[in-house]
């Protein structure tokens, strides 16, 4: 109780201090209030994760009651397009789960022929990255952890190195497409970047970072790989495991796979479709999951309510919605343009320096905070740079990669880390300490962010 009171006192004291600091640096009263409330919400997620929605509700109400923002703009900044996209995707994922798509993926991993430790390691890291690209990191990590635990159980080896490698690869992979992470669709929606932009620019850079990460992890965990190889020799590959597990792709799974594949194709072609039909940017991108979800709910009409009520994470989505409103208030009051101007002055309007600042603040910040919180805060600031004639594209990529790769640095850096380590603790009673994760996470986090930094500042392709 004492600890909670201290945290609460610290939270409000810091938020009020930031508000006064903003006032002292020349912001208006409403700008200061929006900064203080947004800071309180961010700190609330940091100190009281389970109460983040309460902070978001109360904070947004205070903004409305103090006339810092009006109702019309609350609706404008709520980014309903992003929320609806995520709802549609969650319904599609719900169908895939129900029809056994993920169990089928897990069984494919478990059926690797002529298994070796290196082959297993390569498959789990590649699958983790690609699966998180195609669905999202939080969904994919559960299934990858299941596959890793099954194999490690069978060969009686410590699963920890393989679980950490899987999670790190998942976080790296989540930067590859719009679908990998909620910040992907948030950035696409606010920046006008298309799925094709992500495939052409983010995906190759993600693959390069993944390749480097695989080598770092293989070196870091070379002992664990050697032990697994010895066990494979002793127990004779995984033929027994192949007999143990069977997930035949049934008719409904095949139909679900076809639906998911069509959704991916239409999402990837959204920009061309928008050009052909003269639609505003990202209309088709946001419409495809909704149309597909609509057809799924017709096909599986008896389970339609379950998809909406159980598979859609309303708690998280409502938090996102109110967070976007609070971040939007910073823009509405002009606080973000004020911050943008200060940042430009501090970086002498040097685009390389500016990109570096955004990338590294993004990476370090998201190692502590939820990356959606961080990116939501930065988006209006980056939009503020746009008003000052700064070229924005490298800044958007810096936000994406900083937000995704920073999650690898600490064990609380991303939801995927927390979910995977939770399963590990429950299943194997292995409690990962901060430092066990930190050194490997920091090494991968720093090296991959450095690679992205080099690409963003040296390659004209990203400018």
């Amino acid at each position: 109780m004492k600890n909670i009171s201290f945290k609460l006192f610290f939270l409000f004291a810091l938020a009020i201090f930031l508000g006064f600091l903003s006032y002292a640096s020349g912001m208006s009263q409403h700008q200061c209030l929006s900064v203080a409330i947004f800071s309180a919400s961010i700190l609330g997620t940091l100190f009281f994760w389970d109460f983040r929605l309460s902070f978001a509700f109360i904070g947004t109400s205070v903004l409305l009651m103090t006339k810092t923002i009006d109702l019309e703009h609350v609706i404008e900044f709520a980014s309903l397009e992003v929320i609806l996209f995520l709802v549609g995707m969650m319904v599609i994922i719900g169908l895939l789960k129900q029809e056994g798509f993920f169990a089928w993926i897990v069984s494919l991993i478990l059926r690797i022929k002529k298994l070796t430790a290196w082959k297993f390691f390569l498959v789990i890291t590649l699958f983790s990255a690609l699966l998180s690209c195609a669905v999202d990191e939080v969904t994919s990590i559960v299934f990858m952890v299941a596959a890793v635990l099954e194999i490690c159980d069978y060969f009686e080896v410590n699963p920890l190195p393989f679980i950490i490698s899987t999670v790190i690869a998942t976080n790296i992979g989540s930067a590859g497409t719009v679908l990998g992470n909620p910040i992907g669709i948030l950035l696409a929606s606010k920046s006008g970047l298309t799925f094709e932009d992500f495939i052409v620019k983010a995906f190759p850079l993600m693959i390069l970072c993944l390749a480097v990460t695989i080598f770092i992890l293989a070196f870091w965990y070379r002992k664990a790989l050697r032990q697994l190889d010895e066990k494979i020799k002793e127990l004779g590959a995984n033929e027994m495991l192949i007999h143990l597990i069977s997930v035949p792709p049934e008719k409904n799974l095949k139909i679900s796979l076809a639906i998911f594949a069509s959704a991916l194709v239409f999402i990837s072609l959204h920009h061309r479709a928008e050009l052909a039909w003269d639609l505003p940017a990202n209309t088709v991108l946001l419409v495809v999951p909704m149309v597909v979800a609509g057809f799924i709910m017709i096909w599986k009409h008896t389970k339609a309510r379950d998809y909406i009520e159980k598979d859609v994470e309303w708690w998280t989505l409502l938090f996102f919605l109110l967070l976007f409103v609070q971040a939007g208030t910073l823009k509405y009051t002009g606080a973000t343009v004020f911050i943008a101007k200060k940042l430009i002055a501090a970086t002498s309007n040097n685009p390389v320096f500016l990109t570096s600042v955004i990338l590294w603040i993004g990476a370090i910040g998201s190692s502590i905070l939820d990356n959606v919180v961080l990116v939501a805060a930065f988006i209006p600031v980056v939009q503020g740079f746009g008003a000052l004639n700064v070229h924005l594209q490298p800044l958007w990529w810096a936000l994406l990669f900083g937000g995704c790769f920073g999650g690898n640095i600490t064990l609380v850096g991303s939801t995927a880390n927390i979910v995977a380590l939770g399963i590990l603790e429950k299943e194997k009673k292995i409690k990962v300490t901060f430092l066990t994760w930190f050194w490997v996470g920091l090494t991968v986090g720093l090296i991959t962010t450095f690679i992205v930094w080099l690409a963003l500042v040296l390659l004209p392709f990203y400018a």
């Binding site: 789960k97 993920f102 169990a103 635990l149 099954e150 159980d153 069978y154 007999h243 597990i245 429950k426």
Partner: protein, 148 residues
């Protein structure tokens, strides 16, 4: 009608330090799906049910990885079953239990059974000590005997 008029007063309970495997045997012998876990002072600590036993021995990700099929028992499952005999009832029991008071109306108990999917509800007195248990069967019997 209130709960105290309908409840079963002779409560068979388990002690928190009791062996989980022996407790499971007791469940199977009695042909019921769960028993309350009661402290030596008579306070309700939790519920030991078949559901909790299943959750303890099967992988926690089984629910998410729908459609996962084992042709034979997996190694991890065998290991967990072997470990189960070393556990105490308190390691397996569910701690958040929906309870009613002796003066609770039967309608309220029925409402809780339906909305919370509870098969049985422990009945507590003002000192929070368990004084009975009311099952779905008790509710049905009480309602029908009233109108027969």
């Amino acid at each position: 009608m209130i709960v105290s008029q309908v409840m079963t007063k002779e409560v068979v309970g388990l002690l928190p330090e009791e062996n989980a495997l022996q407790a499971l045997d007791k469940l199977l012998e009695m042909g019921i799906s769960g028993l309350p876990v009661i402290s030596p002072e008579g306070k309700l600590l939790g519920m030991f049910t078949e559901k909790e036993v299943i959750a303890k021995i099967f992988p926690s990700y089984l629910e998410s990885v729908g459609g996962f099929q084992y042709d034979q028992d997996a190694k991890g499952l065998k290991q967990k079953i072997a470990n189960f005999s070393g556990l105490a009832v308190k390691d397996v029991m569910r701690k958040d239990v929906i309870c009613v008071e002796e003066s609770t109306a039967l309608y309220e108990a029925a409402h809780l059974m339906l909305t919370q999917k509870a098969r049985r509800l422990p009945v507590l007195n003002k000192e929070k000590k368990i004084i009975g248990i009311i099952s779905r069967g008790d509710v049905v019997k009480a309602i029908f005997s009233q109108y027969k």
